[in-house]
Symmetry: C3
């Protein structure tokens, strides 16, 4: 797997990535989008979201601090993206934690055609209708094999499913990548989940093979995390070195670090 | 005083800390909550806040960028926390600066049972009905001895009161701790006040003696600040080293740094 | 040009800078305001914005994540600032990108007296009614000479106009400063545009000659960026070193770095 070509395309085309996201990590999502070479735009007013999506090459939706009004804006933007055949990434933050989050996730999935669903094991299991124990936005346990659940979810939703965890899973229901890269510090910093959705959006914006691009995005992200962790003394300094690596890794490849299984 | 046992309990139980907070420091509050070993959840939609509070071990409220709607969500969440006997921390940012902030603070204090009130001298004096000069969210001067004002406030509100400043005060109206730890750089970075409320929430979530836990939380916080300042060249680098120290200080104690008076 | 006197006045008077801004860079705007020695207050509730502006020495408006309600609050605050003769800085983020942004920018400019308009070339051209190609919040190209466009815009709007780019322009329609300081890393980090508006607000709050103060602010900002870039490995570490430099540069001058043309 080689993500350098994806990065070159992002650098060349500077795709605009429209986000309707949460108020916690909105800065981090914008900043990593720019660090990887794309252009972020964060906009949620119902009066302008369709126009902004039409200007963009991908749409990233995140329900981390959802309200009904914000989800309404996501639906407007998502319909425009579908109409124009632009990829849509959904980060289903906290699906399963409250009735509202589960319900709104279902509405987005039924109203829109979502290209990439990203979540932790509990969130993806919730979408698949499988019992899961979640604690706020953390996944505690799921009933069953998460790789199989993800694969079934991808088939049902006709979407690529990305499950983050110690082992990351990328599947379109047929092809499945298991990626064991990354570093435990990534789980100690708020925003690493959300920022991955931005990176998935940037890779999707320039992709021809969306499944391969999603797997490349996750591998790139995890290797940047490994390199940043080597420079960091804790989650505070990690945050800044991680952005540096996302920015610098564009200029070289790290094939020897790759820990990927294709199943 | 030894805060290591509190930190061990937080690490062991990973309490979920529900925040309804401001849009300026919402990332920092979430990030420090995770750095100390707890799990942050930021959620403010009126449809889900009661359910999210019910899942949580403590509730942290902050009126830094209040609106009427946000305060309404705080009341819903706060009532659920009271019903379930979960600790509630209120950071009364800017009480005294505008009529709205003073009024909304009073409403929260009269509608809810607040476990810990945190503010600077001007904010706490405002709550106590004492004349204070505030400048935005900064305290300039108060009429009277702030230790006595805090003690009286704690008795009236049946709450623990934490006053931040060069000398931090923790009092339940009977027992009073004066803590002279910390570093001036903490006052040069936005968010150090708000993040302390998150740490107070995490300590309260696992506490048996809430007053002692609040004092331990402040001491821990201040010592982490001292250690971070030694590694920093200014408020920018301080911010990241501070999170590192909050994360690392869990593994050792610094009793020799303690500058605490119990009165 | 010497910005040290401006910095000394800011440090001495600690002016309160009221922001009604976007949810992406709201932390960064508050943090840089404090780093330069002023006091930030972020507040947008319609019930309190007039009172908060009345307490403040300058008002900074930014439409980065605008909604109709937020712009309504900007108008209330702006009218109070005009009434009390306090400087108002407008950061017209994304003007030209959507109909809503262009329309709301025009409304703010017609309803309020704006002291300093800040934007990139595309945003300022849009305000001036000149054709411009924008991509989200990035300026791609404008029809005509941007220095002339800025000068005309300043005359029409009776405002100081600050255009950011590889060469920054500060003009009141008569006097024009071209500033070629700064570093390319500043364009790779989200928030450097927004933070400049905060610095312009702090300089304006203590200024006698507003045009000179705006030029000094831009020069100071750019030189801080150059110094920070020398310490950084990428946009992540740059962000923190930049705040350090904004904080430290108060104590010395760097006249030899100055690359300014007065035309």
């Amino acid at each position: 797997m080689d993500f350098i070509k994806d990065l070159q395309k992002i650098t060349e085309h500077k795709p605009l990535i429209h986000h309707i996201t949460n108020w916690v990590t909105i800065y981090d999502c914008a900043n990593i989008t720019r660090a990887v070479g794309a252009l972020p735009i964060m906009s949620h007013a119902p009066e302008e979201v369709a126009e902004m999506t039409a200007l963009s090459s991908a749409l990233v939706l995140n329900i981390g601090t959802l309200t009904s009004e914000l989800v309404d804006s996501m639906k407007i933007a998502g319909k425009k993206a579908n109409e124009l055949n632009r990829p849509v990434v959904l980060d289903a933050v906290g699906a399963g934690a409250t009735k509202m989050r589960t319900q709104k996730t279902k509405e987005l999935l039924s109203d829109l055609s979502i290209s990439v669903i990203k979540g932790n094991a509990g969130e993806v299991a919730t979408i698949a209708g499988i019992a899961a124990e979640v604690k706020g936005v953390e996944s505690i346990s799921v009933a069953g094999d998460i790789v199989e659940i993800a694969r079934g979810c991808a088939q049902n939703e006709k979407s690529i499913v990305v499950v983050t965890g110690q082992e990351d899973i990328v599947t379109d229901g047929q092809r499945t990548f298991l990626i064991r890269n990354g570093h435990e510090l990534m789980g100690k910093v708020v925003g690493t989940g959300c920022m991955l959705a931005s990176i998935l959006g940037a890779f999707a914006a320039v992709a021809t093979d969306l499944t391969q691009a999603a797997a490349n995005a996750v591998l790139f992200y995890d290797i940047a995390g490994e390199l940043a962790a080597e420079l960091s003394q804790g989650p505070g300094t990690f945050r800044e070195h991680f952005i540096d690596q996302i920015y610098q890794l564009r200029h070289s490849s790290y094939p020897e670090r790759q820990k990927v299984t294709f199943v």
